[in-house]
Symmetry: C2
Subunit: 270 residues, 2 copies
Amino acid sequence: FEFTLMVVGESGLGKSTLINSLFLSDVYTTANYDDRIKQTLQIEASTMDLEENGVRLKLTLIDTPGFGDAIDNTNCWQPIIDFIQKRFDEYIQQESRIDREYHIVDTRVHCCLYFIPPTGHSLRPIDIEYMKQLYDKVNIVPIIAKADTMTEDECKGFKRRILKDLRDNKIRIFEFQEVAGEDEDYAAQHKSSKESIPFAVVGSNTKIQLNGGKEVRVRKYPWGMVEVENNDHSDFIHLRNVLIRTHMFDLIYNTNILHYENYRYRKGGS
Amino acid sequence: FEFTLMVVGESGLGKSTLINSLFLSDVYTTANYDDRIKQTLQIEASTMDLEENGVRLKLTLIDTPGFGDAIDNTNCWQPIIDFIQKRFDEYIQQESRIDREYHIVDTRVHCCLYFIPPTGHSLRPIDIEYMKQLYDKVNIVPIIAKADTMTEDECKGFKRRILKDLRDNKIRIFEFQEVAGEDEDYAAQHKSSKESIPFAVVGSNTKIQLNGGKEVRVRKYPWGMVEVENNDHSDFIHLRNVLIRTHMFDLIYNTNILHYENYRYRKGGS
Ligand SMILES: Nc1nc2c(ncn2[C@@H]2O[C@H](COP(=O)(O)OP(=O)(O)O)[C@@H](O)[C@H]2O)c(=O)[nH]1
Ligand SMILES: Nc1nc2c(ncn2[C@@H]2O[C@H](COP(=O)(O)OP(=O)(O)O)[C@@H](O)[C@H]2O)c(=O)[nH]1
């Protein structure tokens, strides 16, 4: 089946690195740094076939370079809204064909990872405005980027303030519902995933071998080593679990019955 | 004597923390986070008497909150330029008085610490524009903020790209000239300071006692502890040395004979 994941956030928040870490493949090669910031706002899609848990998956990644990088970022979200809605239109067209395929290829955007810079204060005006514009059009999963910038206490406080900002601005982010029918240990782990929202993630393409032979992704500093997949260091595993293991179907389902239907309704009314 | 230091950079780059660390005093109390980002662009000056190396110093800190935090940051540097030039005007007035004081109180801005976010790529458009606007009006000392976000290799590459961006855009930052007349060890240390530009700094208000009783400023992570004053962890000591120990006079002198004279010349011509 198809899953489309959009990635939104300023340049330099570790988005490419995180996507590569999530899907364990070099989706993004390290771009020529000199060109990174100057590129025009051009939304790019790259598709690849993956296999996760024995399920074959057509994953499409939507990259939104240049967002928020300019001096004047007024309406920088508009091209992204247009993109999401264009994909809804394509689906509407497919659905309304008399001779439509049994399985309509679903190119709608199922999830938007929104990267928040680890300032330590609270959401910035651009973050609030961006998510306000997007939350009723696509499932938003906010991510605290480069979370190894923050101590445990700073991170706790930052998460609390972010959640308050979201509530105060009536921004509804995607809710990871309880995982039913699994053993207690799994449900407990999922509960702790839920409590970690927004996920504070660290990503890395650098791998080392631990004593015992296990290969882990790390960031090596002079004062210590961050292990990407260590739950005490980063919420990476929580994010990967909900995105790929437990809630991919929910994200697709919610896109279909909520965001898509809202769009059809608003469009149909005009 | 008087020294005025201006601090410029987006919210959440550790500016308050760094200033407190530099001058070993709580110049900035932890502001109410809820108010931090929403405050209007209002330049604030706070003055305090310090004693460094037995020299009594009237230090004035100029804070520029709100810079670069809005969605549209067009011309956000203008109030800062106006501020610098207003202080030049005040000095011109003082100098031209017939009955002027023997020692004119020097309130001109002697140094501007420009905080660069540790994206890992290169300078952002706003950084380039900002420094382009300011470098010929005030001594600019660029700082890589929250440098514990980067590994040693990432930091090296980032510094290289920043210096290239500055050259390509003809931005002249303050040059710390060779320190004359000191012993070889001191000169060598100063040379390494010069080679660390732009300084990649880490700041902290958290202190702990090491074995041996020495009190050090640290950032405690689950994977290790960053020591602010350890040259392998941060350029903090280099920055403090050039700013307070070796080059404060140069910064004042350069402001007087270069930036101030340029301003008088441009103004006088009209
Ligand atoms: N501290 C920290 N740095 C990271 C992390 N992920 C990536 N980086 C570094 O941040 C820089 C920019 O990463 P990149 O993935 O290109 O960011 P993008 O511009 O958002 O795609 C690179 O130097 C990365 O090595 C992270 O989780 N923590
Ligand atoms: N990683 C890292 N975090 C820092 C550093 N300095 C300060 N912080 C944290 O960053 C957050 C914002 O710091 P603050 O000094 O208020 O930043 P300001 O808004 O630029 O004045 C706080 O949680 C600080 O503890 C640093 O050098 N490295």
